[in-house]
């Protein structure tokens, strides 16, 4: 974070003091300013009278459901919201994302993962504020949202209407997870239920058009049990920003 600009202010709403302490320590080390709250009520009070650039909310709060807090915040703020939740609580995460959270972190998480998610969320917020970025790069694939065109190595790539809508929705949330429910709603509209079972097949078709090796996707990733995310190359580097590789189960 640049030292000349005012530090980014992060509001941490987490009832467990050790986790709050860990978050504060690592965030401050990275140059963020940290506000701490131990309950939803306290968090909401802080949010309403302090400037907050990013919210980090634990879903297991003692006084109120985390999703409720997210909905309350979303009524008046568009600032990025990241949720913290246990690994096995997939449905809780999906609910939080559908309630308006931007992304999630599974507990326990690594610090690298935490900062990567924070950076993506802040970059996206900044882009939205500037009116949005309309061109994404996925290796040699170029996606232009304003002219609705996709090229691969300069050659135009033909997408069906459904594939384009899918790519568009993912590109609008580039770097962040999009839940299956969100995708279905935005691509197929309200009567999307029957498509739900086929979502993975549509995503695979899109991968075949975009990925160099469709069975080993680099850009269009699946968050098992949650949804999908499009990891576009960042403008400043050509390497895709990926979640840190944290094994799901203990290694030998």
């Amino acid at each position: 974070m640049a030292s000349q600009a005012p530090p980014v202010q992060v509001l941490v709403v987490e009832d467990e003091a050790p986790i709050r302490r860990l978050l504060a320590t690592t965030l401050q080390a990275e140059g963020y300013a940290v506000l701490e709250a131990s309950s939803a009520t306290e968090g909401e009070a802080l949010a309403s009278n302090r400037r907050v650039d990013l919210y980090l909310i634990d879903l297991g709060l003692p006084d109120r459901d985390g999703c409720e807090l997210i909905r309350a915040l979303r009524r008046w703020t568009a600032r990025p919201i990241l949720v913290l939740s246990a690994r096995s609580q997939e449905q809780q995460k999906v609910d939080a994302l559908d309630a308006g959270a931007d992304d999630y972190l599974s507990k326990p998480f690594g610090v690298a993962e935490l900062h990567a998610r924070l950076r993506v969320a802040l970059r996206h917020a900044a882009r939205s504020a500037l009116g949005g970025e309309s061109v994404l790069r996925l290796g040699d694939v170029r996606v232009d949202l304003s002219s609705k065109s996709v090229t691969r190595g300069g050659e135009p790539v033909h997408l069906t209407a459904t594939q384009w809508r899918l790519l568009e929705v993912l590109a609008q949330h580039a770097g962040r997870v999009v839940t299956a429910r969100q995708l279905l709603r935005e691509v197929w509209g309200p009567g999307h239920a029957e498509q739900g079972h086929y979502l993975r097949i549509y995503v695979r078709q899109l991968r075949q058009k975009l990925e160099a090796e469709p069975s080993r996707p680099v850009y269009l990733r699946t968050d098992t049990g949650i949804g999908y995310r499009l990891l576009a190359d960042t403008p400043e580097s050509t390497a895709p920003l990926r979640p840190a590789e944290v094994p799901a189960a203990p290694g030998p």
Partner: protein, 540 residues
């Protein structure tokens, strides 16, 4: 085992059958009971049958007279006597001794009146016929007696055989019976078919209160009576005489097991001592069978308790081992970093930190396994199935495994265009567990293959390794909780990985199996519904 049946007699039992309550049944004959040598037939039928038998005897004698009349032109008059004897034998055979005696008297009268000259007079011309009449009487009565006795013996033997059959039928049914309902129905069938009277089996509940199998079969007021009998102490447990219906206490070696309720017909009762003994033998068989089931139930629940206890102690030892070991490393590394910071060089510090992180992840993994398996087994987790491209799924497995497969030759095979029906999150977890298991048991550099095969109605996920394989006979045991079939220790985690695979397969109505084929091969087979128009025409 000493067995005892407490019999309570009512008015319908003959005095000879009223034995002390402590008498052993069916083991040796009761000295107080004198078997009656008469035909075993029910009383009301016996009374009603008298007239029928008398008229039967008269009819036979009439028939004999007619035959003699017909044969008279060709026979000597005294030879006609043999025709009457034949008639008497028939009556004795079919209608018993009394009827035979009646037939003899009637025969003499008919012979005198119709065959002997002068006809239609009881006074014969030849006085020697008086001797003939006497001989007829003596021989006829003797024949009747002998034949009737032979017939009675046959009848008794038949009745004995019938009783033995009834008892053996009941024993057979009781051996097969397992539940109180089955006992009750076996008994009802046996008593109904043998004695033609309704009965009911009253068994106590956990509090010792008798429970009738169904209330309709028990007249009002009988339950308290049965309860009194059930609660009464041993030998003196005896109902006041002269009360019907009949209650029998089923006595086990360690106290009463239940009460048998019998409703004899209004006029009759159980009948002969043989019948009552049969009834007691049946009750005795029932008591034996009931006691056997009781012991079986007790030993089964003891086995279950032992198994639960084994699981609990395995869980405790697994948890204390699998959590304490990594926690020891974590606490040690962290305190070392805190307190020895000044003496640690960068490399050592790095080593401690790496160990700390790895062990913390191990604790997290064990805990997650335990939680996941619990949620699956308690039915809190329902699979959310969707159509998944096979290569997609296997890529997720590869992603989740990360760099763990680096030390082995890990290959993934899947038909390029296959799609399978499953909950991808659960299947990925199960596949990762199978591969992790193979990694643990295959020496470094060994080959591990993850293969997906799709067939029309099912698909399977197969993990084959080049390790030493599973111990003989342990192929299914490895899927049990906390199983460590291949005898590994700390490396094996908490021993839930394969149990989770089995639970995932169950949730998908599939199965998981293991066998040896140049190493261990684990195969998870899941059903595949017929694909309903997968999105087509949208590929272009």
């Amino acid at each position: 085992m000493s067995r005892r049946l407490t019999a309570l007699a009512s008015v319908h039992w003959r005095p000879a059958v009223l034995r002390p309550a402590t008498a052993r049944v069916a083991l040796k004959p009761d000295p107080h009971s004198v078997p009656e040598p008469i035909a075993v037939l029910d009383l009301p039928a016996r009374c009603a049958g008298w007239r029928r038998r008398a008229s039967g005897a008269a009819l036979v004698v009439g028939l004999c007279t007619a035959i003699s009349e017909l044969l008279l032109p060709y026979l000597d008059r005294t030879s006609a006597v043999t025709v009457y004897w034949a008639g008497v034998v028939y009556v004795a055979l079919r209608m018993g001794q009394a009827a035979a005696t009646l037939a003899v008297v009637l025969s003499i009268l008919a012979f005198d009146l119709l065959i002997v000259e002068p006809r239609w007079s009881f006074a014969p011309l030849d006085p020697q016929y008086y001797l003939t009449f006497l001989v007829m009487l003596v021989v006829g009565v003797l024949i009747g007696r002998l034949v009737a006795q032979a017939s009675l013996q046959t009848e008794l033997a038949e009745a004995r055989a019938r009783r033995a059959q009834a008892l053996s039928d009941l024993t057979g049914r009781l051996i097969a019976a397992r539940s109180p309902e089955e006992f009750s129905s076996a008994l009802t069938v046996a008593v109904q078919s043998t004695f033609g009277m309704p009965c009911a089996l009253l068994l106590p509940d956990a509090q010792g209160r008798l429970q009738p199998p169904d209330r309709e079969s028990l007249p009002a007021g009988q339950l308290p009576r049965a309860q009194d009998l059930f609660d009464a102490d041993g030998p003196q447990a005896r109902e006041p005489e002269g009360r019907a219906p009949l209650l029998l206490r089923l006595q086990g070696t360690r106290g009463p097991l239940g009460v048998l309720f019998l409703q004899p017909p209004a006029a009759g009762g159980v009948g002969t001592p043989e019948d009552s003994r049969l009834l007691e033998a049946m009750a005795d068989q029932l008591a034996l069978a009931l006691e056997r089931t009781l012991f079986e139930q007790r030993s089964a629940s003891a086995a279950l308790e032992a198994e639960t206890e084994r699981l609990r102690s395995t869980l405790l030892s697994s948890i204390s081992h699998d959590f304490r070991t990594p926690l020891t490393t974590i606490i040690g590394a962290a305190s070392s970093l805190l307190e020895q910071d000044h003496v640690l060089d960068a490399e050592r510090r790095r080593l401690l930190l790496d160990g700390l992180l790895e062990e913390a992840r191990r604790v997290h993994g064990s805990m997650s396994d335990l939680l996941d398996l619990t949620r699956m087994e308690e039915g809190q987790l329902r699979p959310l199935c969707e159509w998944c491209p096979a290569d997609d799924l296997l890529q997720e497995v590869r992603d989740a495994l990360g760099t763990r497969t680096a030390g082995h030759a890990f290959e993934v095979e899947a038909p390029g265009d296959a799609i399978v029906w499953c909950d991808p999150r659960l299947i990925v977890q199960a596949a990762v567990n199978l591969v992790d298991n193979a990694l643990r048991h295959t020496p470094a550099g060994g080959r591990i293959t993850l293969r997906l095969q799709a067939r029309p109605a099912e698909w399977n996920l197969c993990v084959a390794d080049s390790g030493p394989g599973l111990p003989q006979g342990q192929e299914q045991a490895v899927f049990k909780k906390f199983a460590r079939a291949r005898g590994d220790g700390h490396e094996g985690g908490i021993g839930l990985g394969l149990a989770i695979c089995a639970a995932v397969a169950r949730l998908h109505q599939g199965r998981v199996e293991a066998h040896n084929a140049g190493g261990a091969v684990f195969t998870m087979t899941l059903p595949q519904p017929v694909a309903q128009g997968a999105p087509a025409g949208d590929t272009d």
